[in-house]
Symmetry: C2
Subunit: 266 residues, 2 copies
């Protein structure tokens, strides 16, 4: 349905704004994604927003037309509003902005088919939404199946994580699970758990990676708990030529993921 | 000199706070670094703050004692203040916080010795201070000599970049330069300029890297200008198995840097 909203106090405006807040997002099980490119990626991956919001003053664009048509055809809402109200929703003063409201995906392990891809990224207590989105983006690039979030991680459906994923939030599976549930699940089928570690580790280059390979990255400041490292099938170490003893979490995951990709394909 | 500050309106408090702002930072040619670990890294690399600020209510710590002694011995100031005032300076409500004011480093190309390291990272129009700090951290890890910032990049001396560098701002050389000045400088000596590119590129694995290797990464959203890519000695391509056609800038730089490291050492 197409409709126009002209008042700041309209409940839909309040609802859309509230999705920037994690508490409301979780209650509604909805999230916001912004930008024509991101929304077009979503559409091309088969994900349409339930609501599409844009300014009446916008410039026309064929990709936006396609998006509007698809949303209407699927029974969703296309909402036009003023540039001022749009800025209030998106937090950006850009009348070309466009935002969509999506239903959250199923993030249970049960929904995840490990045989669907040779690589899976796994993050434990990853706190930075930018790092989380970057890992999704890297996962897409290496042909991973998805990102499994262990313990208390940043929200993959936050505006920051969605933005940093550059659309990969729509191509990668996402699971949210406790370690006590992840490990038993992993052991019910094939799957090599690999972590970057200094403990009893082999060089990351040329290590015996095997698909499906689950690459485990730890918290930004504390790294992985010892117990988690010890549960890994393979511990690898990356050169550290300087003073630092660790890499940024998203960087470590990416360097390792590209090494695994080359190894599995080589 | 040791002194105590108890008033919010003290000019030193205003001065320290003002260093969170780029304009003031540039005028003063000073920057803030925060945290005992970061400041200890700095000290061990031979960089001492001109001023060291901490709360009177802090817990004792041997590394903090060592830092205080070194600052006093070098003629700097150790400033004790209330937890409230410290929170105002650091923006964090943590009475264990400690902050130091450092003189900016010389960031001219003239100060850079290309023969000092086999790898140099080069970023063009990198806008995100987190990405910039992450590239410094990666540079430290791969034993790079430093990070050369081309055109208008984020400020490497911002609190965010310094924090993301995890101390590497003190171990890596930093240069800030225009492209028109960088390229002629590069060509006055040995140096292979390498970029990730889709244009006439060879696979990044097994490419003929040569030291000193300058790894060029482009702007987060626009990538590298065509002219810059064409000026490179080597263009390499990384696998992109998904929908995305690019990686996060700091991730791309890191994957490439680890490949160059393995190639040069292998």
């Amino acid at each position: 349905m197409r409709r126009q909203i002209t008042g700041f106090s309209n409940p839909t405006v309040k609802y859309l704004r509230s999705l920037r807040d994690k508490k409301h997002r979780k209650r509604e099980r909805r999230f916001l994604a912004e930008g024509l490119r991101l929304l077009t990626d979503a559409r091309e991956c088969g994900h349409l927003p339930q609501q599409l919001v844009m300014a009446m003053e916008r410039d026309p664009h064929p990709l936006l037309d396609a998006l509007e048509d698809a949303v209407i055809a699927a029974g969703g809402d296309v909402i036009e509003t003023s540039a001022d109200i749009l800025a209030k929703i998106t937090g950006k003063d850009n009348p070309q902005a466009v935002a969509g409201v999506f239903a959250e995906f199923d993030t249970t392990l049960a929904a995840l088919d490990r045989s669907a891809a040779p690589i899976w990224l796994v993050a434990q207590a990853l706190r930075d939404p930018g790092n989380l989105g970057t890992m999704l983006r890297t996962g897409d690039a290496v042909g991973a199946g998805g990102l499994i979030l262990i313990d208390d991680c940043a929200d993959p459906f936050s505006v920051e994580a969605v933005r940093a994923s550059m659309g990969a939030v729509f191509t990668q599976r996402i699971a949210q699970v406790r370690w006590e549930d992840f490990l038993p699940w992993l052991r019910t089928g094939p799957g090599q758990l690999v972590a970057a570690s200094l403990r009893d580790a082999v060089p990351y280059r040329g290590a015996p990676y095997a698909a499906p390979c689950f690459i485990l990255v730890g918290n930004e400041s504390r790294g992985l708990p010892e117990e988690y490292e010890l549960a890994c099938d393979l511990r690898v170490t990356m050169p550290m030529r300087g003073r630092a003893d660790s890499l940024n979490a998203a960087v470590a995951g990416a360097v390792l993921a590209y090494e695994v990709l080359a190894s599995l394909e080589g």
